[in-house]
Subunit: 259 residues, 2 copies
DNA sequence: CGCTGTTTTGAAGCCGATCAAAGTGTGTGG
DNA sequence: CCACACACTTTGATCGGCTTCAAAACAGCG
């Protein structure tokens, strides 16, 4: 809605972002994002249509159904995609971490609500211009295809979780997924005792897992009681034994893990 | 597994299929499948590496984890993609109707179990060769991107169903989804009283919806008792009022429907 | 006709939802 | 620097929808 847009503009540092301007070469997601495979000249095309935007925690990026004039890469922070039934029941359908892509090329309106859960910096591309470049630059469209296929695999893993796992298994799976993604992002290993940061509130976790926030709380604490995890403050989680966590997740140990 | 491969070969009419050979121009899915946007010369490239395979109801097309040397378009029939936990709990993660694409380019091994639920005819492409063509023919990769994005949207709609809908809503949603897809495939409308064919057993529906087959049976009959649907034999369903069915599905009436 | 696979129906139990209230922590303003 | 407010989390008690286990009904096919 326009009210949202106004809020966004008001709070929005806009094109003059605090993030290292313009320089794609210095970008932290240069070799992971949609532009990963681009050559220098191709990158220049994107550079010409890009601008940065940032959002505060809790701020809505777009409402499902609203017009969206850009697509974007998440540079830093975490955002969620959610879908809602009339009566308010909400299901998260995407969790966007740095390098993930937001928006659908060729589509004028957003399909889902996108909300920043931490401070988020987006590298935005004007939609029409991006569509044009996409048609011309195979490196770009192939990378986007690759990322979309990965997302589809992740969505299917997620469907298994939603459809067939117990509450306890859902929690364990979620923590394992976050741990893996954080490890991949930071190039760390999960062998030794590792600490991670849950980027979501209990309520957002519930929306991710198709549970209520009370059940999430109970099961998180149950895993803690059973020594599978340790809690550090509200968001921190220590994993003394990652393999144990995976056992609790219901997946087969090594798992047909995709990424 | 190789045992499976043997079974498949044994039962498989193979390259000499009963389907109208070779002629892409006569293909019933010519303008819907991955090849939809291809020009005549591009089509010729695909024609050079393609072959048909058919499968009987219940027959496995590939096992998750197994080697897969081809990708394919479903020409006729219905196939499912499923994922399984060690203890046997299974969740369907894909329902492939005519024109849908099977397999992931660039990936050597299948991620999911693919099973024919009716007699299925596949138009197969040797994987390596297909990958090469994909790199050379933008019409092909763009169409594949488009189809993958559609599948991702469908997966996310499915996640909402799995995570947040009641058993009754799940059944109503499922019937509505099938009705829409059949209508789109046959170019029919859903306004008037229409009859559809459920391509799945109660058990397969349960795997689709994250329910037990008993619950599926009970809720289907509940919808029948309430006059939302009528049953014709085991697989046939008559929809006296599609709007009523959609109400029961929990989605908002017109729905942010994607395709 | 009897076999097999599928669907329906029934009864009981459990897991997660719901409703309610107390606890924790963080930031703000007095 | 403390106290309050607010947002989030934890804990408790009860309820209900779906699963589970069991068996009967049904349909298709040799």
């Amino acid at each position: 809605m326009s009210a949202q847009t106004l809020t966004q503009i008001k709070h929005d540092p806009g094109a003059v972002s605090s993030h290292g301007e313009g320089r794609c070469e210095d970008c932290p997601i240069r070799y992971r994002a949609v532009c990963a495979h681009c050559e220098t000249d191709e990158l220049a095309l994107l550079e010409g249509i890009k601008f940065y935007r940032s959002y505060e925690p809790g701020q809505t990026i777009v409402w499902g159904g609203d017009r969206m004039d850009f697509v974007a890469s998440v540079v830093t922070g975490v955002a969620t995609l959610t879908q809602t039934l009339e009566d308010g029941r909400t299901q998260m359908v995407g969790l966007l971490l740095p390098s993930d892509f937001l928006g659908r090329p060729g589509r004028e309106r957003a399909t889902y609500n996108a909300v920043a859960t931490t401070r988020v910096v987006l590298c935005c591309f004007r939609r029409k211009a991006f569509d044009d470049i996409l048609r011309e630059v195979p490196h770009l469209s192939h990378r986007l295809l690759e990322m979309t296929l990965d997302e589809l695999d992740a969505a299917r893993e997620w469907m298994l979780l939603l459809g067939r796992k117990s509450a306890r298994e859902k929690i364990a799976s979620f923590i394992a997924i976050i741990a893996r993604r954080e490890a991949a992002l930071n190039g760390r290993s999960l062998d030794s005792r590792s600490e991670i940061d849950l980027p979501l509130t209990r309520e957002a976790m519930a929306d991710y897992l198709g549970l209520t926030l009370e059940t999430v709380s109970r099961q998180v604490n149950a895993l803690k009681r059973d020594g599978v995890i340790e809690l550090v403050g509200k968001r921190g989680v220590v994993l003394p034994d990652f393999a144990r966590l995976v056992e609790e997740s219901g997946d087969d140990a090594d798992g047909g893990w995709i990424a």
